[in-house]
Subunit: 709 residues, 2 copies
Amino acid sequence: MVENLQSLIPFFQPRSIALIGVSTRTGLQAFNILEQVLAGGYRGRIYPVNPKGGTLLGLQVYRTVSEIPETPDLAVISTPRTAVKEVIQECTARGIKAIIVITQGFADADSWGKQTQQELQEIVWNAGARLVGPNTIGVVNLYENLNTSFIGFLRKEADTAMICQSGIFLLGAADFTGGIGLGVDIGNAADVGFSESLTFLGQEPRVRVINLHMEGIKDGHRFMEVARAVTRTKPVLCLKTGRSEAGARAASSHSGSLAGEDHVFTAAFKQCGVIRVRDVEEMLYLNKTFLTYPSMPGQRIAVVTISGGAGIMAIDACSACGLEVARFSEKTREKLAAVFPDWMEVNNPLDIWPAGMTRGYLEILELSLDTILEDPGVDAALVISPAYLPPEEDPRLDISRTINQAASRHPEKPLALWIFGNYRHELAARMEKENRVVVYPSPEKAMASLATLYRYLHEIKGRAPGHPAVFTDFHEERIDSLLAVAMREGQATINEAALEILQAAGIPVLPSRVAHSTGDAVRIASSQGYPVVMKIVSPQISHKSDVGGVKVNLKDDREVAAAYNEMMEVVSARVPQATIKGVLIQPYRPGGVEVLLGCKRDPSFGPVLVFGLGGIYTELFRDVSFAIAPVDREKALDMIRETKAYRLLRGFRGQPPANIDALVECLLRLGQLVTRWPEIVEMDINPLLVDPQGAVAVDARITLHTSNL
Amino acid sequence: MVENLQSLIPFFQPRSIALIGVSTRTGLQAFNILEQVLAGGYRGRIYPVNPKGGTLLGLQVYRTVSEIPETPDLAVISTPRTAVKEVIQECTARGIKAIIVITQGFADADSWGKQTQQELQEIVWNAGARLVGPNTIGVVNLYENLNTSFIGFLRKEADTAMICQSGIFLLGAADFTGGIGLGVDIGNAADVGFSESLTFLGQEPRVRVINLHMEGIKDGHRFMEVARAVTRTKPVLCLKTGRSEAGARAASSHSGSLAGEDHVFTAAFKQCGVIRVRDVEEMLYLNKTFLTYPSMPGQRIAVVTISGGAGIMAIDACSACGLEVARFSEKTREKLAAVFPDWMEVNNPLDIWPAGMTRGYLEILELSLDTILEDPGVDAALVISPAYLPPEEDPRLDISRTINQAASRHPEKPLALWIFGNYRHELAARMEKENRVVVYPSPEKAMASLATLYRYLHEIKGRAPGHPAVFTDFHEERIDSLLAVAMREGQATINEAALEILQAAGIPVLPSRVAHSTGDAVRIASSQGYPVVMKIVSPQISHKSDVGGVKVNLKDDREVAAAYNEMMEVVSARVPQATIKGVLIQPYRPGGVEVLLGCKRDPSFGPVLVFGLGGIYTELFRDVSFAIAPVDREKALDMIRETKAYRLLRGFRGQPPANIDALVECLLRLGQLVTRWPEIVEMDINPLLVDPQGAVAVDARITLHTSNL
């Protein structure tokens, strides 16, 4: 599939539409697409198609696609699933280049459906046409009065776009995203998918926020590339579902999506600047936030509140999402102290009720807001106010005018609101009319939204694209031949040779040789130099230390000989079924931090790098970070910083700091290795020892793609 | 202060009220309490008091309290703060036994306010009267038309109660808790506080859910005792604010509350069955949930959805909060398969749209609900349905009748809803009229609420009270004398003698003696038996292993002598400023899990036990659990289970399981020790070694209350 954005234009801006399989009934129970297209006010030419012919809602109905007097820009098919293939053939024969298949029952259903979807895809591709769906409600373009749904909904225009795998996000857009401009339900995504749609909507100037509802994705790498570009200019939010195992199973039967492990999506989104949202409420408030506030200079938040108790909640929420509680300037304090009761300290949160009771609530609110928003130490403000009664019954608490005026005087600093009380929706509606402020349903949502706004504006928007380091000193032939040997011998797992492969990729490894006798052990140890470490080698034993298969800090020939003999005895006794292949001998390098570097192949995103603390704590605490390979230097550092291991590496409790640069280089090289040699499906370097001198791989294991064997 | 529930009755059910300091102005800007009391429909006798006299709103105004023709049940004072003390004296002189002080500016303000609050408290106590406030809006009893607020609000009755430290929770109750029956704003809680109010409301038969908004608490132990009893019969929810450090500072200036560490509150609430809520939205939906659903037989949830995509979100949410995805019975599958399209598998989540399109949405919904709710493998159901248009414009999607009928046929299983689309509020209002179902704003809120409902009904409600174990074999005199020695010597910290104190409390300790010379070391080691461990003793060195101050597994006299000399040399070189007091020698006991047991004194709750993984990982991962001391066996086990250390103790990666019973006993004994000897303000046993044989304290430290020195 070659990406061709031109080919998507007919979906969103068709001059003419064929509606194939349109019902001849109308009204509520008929699910008649024609009726909805007309209700939406579509201004292009419409050609209903139904074998019965006749007229419908004032339009001529054509019996077949070939009868239509022109080649329509877009065909929307909603016939029973058994007829879809034939209709598509008619469409492509008629030269139609954009086709939407509404009908369900393909990759989302049984094996007939899965097979047939593949056939539809081929027909469309061979004809140079494009397909949205199947299993979709199609597209929405409220800017130009187009929607292809078969069910009525509130058409509320907003400068947002939506790419989803479930029609509810287009039909419910007024609720989920506060309105919509352009949207496409890619359904089973047989042809048009996330990457292309995102590129297309990213280039649409009217769209200011793009939302994704994703159940799975095929071309993860391509998606990341597109998203990296789009998120530089506009925020992209993603509600990825199928997070849980049960949810992923349900997703695969809903849209035929292949959902890999959820934490891989989290890592991928983070890398390409996509903001992952947890639920539909977060999605709604982030859309409002991005559409309302153009800037936010810093993270220092002021809270102006009618209630001290509510102010405390806001401060808690502020701290919880990493924002800072602003400190008011001397000037601000003095100005406010002049109108506040003597006994009250002027502080953030600012409780304006005591002053408001005597001097008028709206007057004090106005003065407070202007004073605070002029304070250079404040970057945004949250106002907390009640709506206990309908605004018209209690005009004293109707702050909408005061708030909008304050917001218009300080457009560079977000002025957010939390309104509580039974009439908050009424007051919020008044307040939000001018699109200067957002009213949030809780201080937690307000603060979380502002934190995300800040992060987008300062960390994602406009950032320079990163470039994975490319090392040219890999011994490629050596790696090729070591992998070839393993494959020739039918090995799914490479153990001892794994360190050699790493070495060929420029990752430092600890010298290591396997001894097969006591004499051997002593010879190897003394040639490496004392002290040494000894580890049992057996395909049946993966946790060596648990069975007495590890001895450290052996200082001379005598200790090595004794350790060899003891290990043979103890391990055979504890794991009688194990085949012992010898004892690995390495120099003993005490101190340093043991970390784990690994890689796993994901069905959507390919090789995924893993970093974490080594040893038994990897498993116990799952303190690991992930990134899609390859990575650049900054991302590699991020991976390290995300884990608790970072604290150890920086020098925990007086230890000297480890050489993090050397560790970063290992991550970069590992990323290049697993990207260049896709036959490596899994890899573990555990431990990689990082100390002040550098990083060195002590033990490693590689798993090969079995179909390569 | 003796608890006397009778004394609270006049606050909630006064036959007569004096309103002292009532404004002579009326209308919106006047904040006139009399006006609100009248608007609320209060049926008792009202005596406004204002030095100006005259009449107000048709009532005679008395110049002083003494002029009132009877002794009112309740006085509500809203004079300026400087007048409050004198007015209270007049009230108590007049024999008034219940007083509310609305006025702000006491412990919430400056030093004058803090001092004066103490004086008010004393006046009231000496007169045998009771005080609510100061800094409060007083009480609400919507059952009997009473409220003492000075601001209008929607009076929406519901069988909930609220005890708060901020008036917004009474005024905004329609929004925060979906309505209210009884409520009290304890404000600065100079006299009446959480514990008494909770006991009182716990005994009120009309109240079915009790809510707390807490900024801090004084009598933590008493509160836990009360809450333990009340939560056995009705759910108690608590929004504890001041979670963050900045929030706690703000709380202390808002209501003069002393907020200890937040995780201590979390632990305390858990121990006494109080459900901690994170925000006001969670509070609202839990109130609705508890008021609506009387039972929930198990945790297996069915999802019936108009959209497969939405069903996946619900399944994710279900898994995320520990509920189970129900598996439908054969019977259910067959019954539904008969009306579903052939290509569709009948599964949970159940997407009813394809069947609904052809057979009628409401009909299929009804059939699906009845079938599923009759399935013995389903304990509750979530229905997902849209409201794209106003319900009257799209009656096909107005499911309110169908839902309420299904709910009434299956009252034992919660039927919950998530409705989306711009008109969800309208449809929800229709649906919730009959109080049979709750409409949630997201699947996440629905599932989280059901999970809490299940947990309350099956784990908190009606549970038998636990009893901390009481050991009678403590060597009390020995402990007394060891503590006395330390205090006499002015020691704030007990190091070496700490193990002796533990031993006297029946906690096994590893034999240990301090050597002061090489010869000493060899003598002690050989008398303890080899192998041994040696550790440097120095008040300046707390992380001994970091400076070379620990040697393990020393097998004979020669190794001990060498280790002693080396340690002296290395430690002095690394920490030249340290005073070395000798080297501690203990038997070497390899294997086992090193854990930390500790105790810290909290200003609200007294001694708090801490359990976690020992060694450097305690600090790195903060994988610790807390409980208010003393604890019973079950709670001690819970503390262990809450941490990752539990996996190690159960036998991680093939290790034999450690003796958890022995560890539990150590926790119980530690709880008794720190409760019985309050001069111990802090204590650490780190590590306590737990292996299959038992648990043994290896190292410990005790900090004494400095005022005892």
